[in-house]
Symmetry: C2
Amino acid sequence: MGRTRHDRFDCSPGCAVEATLSLIDGKWKGVVLYHLMAGTMRFNEIRRKLPNVTQRMLTNQLRELEADGLITRTVFAQVPPRVDYDLSERGRTLEPVILALKTWGDANMPSAGSAAA
Amino acid sequence: MGRTRHDRFDCSPGCAVEATLSLIDGKWKGVVLYHLMAGTMRFNEIRRKLPNVTQRMLTNQLRELEADGLITRTVFAQVPPRVDYDLSERGRTLEPVILALKTWGDANMPSAGSAAA
DNA sequence: TCCAATGGTATCCTTTTCGACACTATGGGC
DNA sequence: GCCCATAGTGTCGAAAAGGATACCATTGGA
């Protein structure tokens, strides 16, 4: 239960494309990454941003992003549990990619991004 | 059997990210798009580039890309069937995104892109 | 006549992903 | 004592994505 999709990248040069895609793909990862670009967030804070995600799903995505070294998870051993999520160094290098994705979406999708915002 | 993943984009602003992702996601779409950036290709030509894809899968991905208006499919009514695939206008606007994906992959993936190439 | 090549389609089956829902631990408020 | 919030985990099952395999039509070549 570690990898999202393919482990082996035995394709042609275009492979790097798929490899990158495999990290940010997964229904909510893109959005999570996007929101994290704005700064540290707590679990429920992220959850409130994504009204249609269940804890299980969010936990899952967060764990995968952490396993891929894109985000850091800081647990505060407090009584009301508190966990901070942050983009890691590596995660920050993904910013241009996320931004490219968002820019294209804003410019080319029929009614996404600005609509329902 | 049109959309790959989500139809409704009822999420927050980060939505555009997911929207774009939903177009280029799908196991082989990224690579197909990448190869198409080099120019027109015929069905079997693409197939030969992706040794692990079955016709069904390739046909599927190609149809979805076509339905999303990212590629054009030109059928020549000849006896040995011939079909050309090309990036559409819209598909070409995706080039920077694909490139961003590839660049990041080359730079940040343990051993993808250059390895096994 | 049979085989090969082209670009598919149809059918079946497995794997992966996603979503619903319930349950946990701790402490505070009422 | 009961419910709320925090940040999860576990199980179950449905749906979707992906893969294997076989089949179709046409025509040229051996």
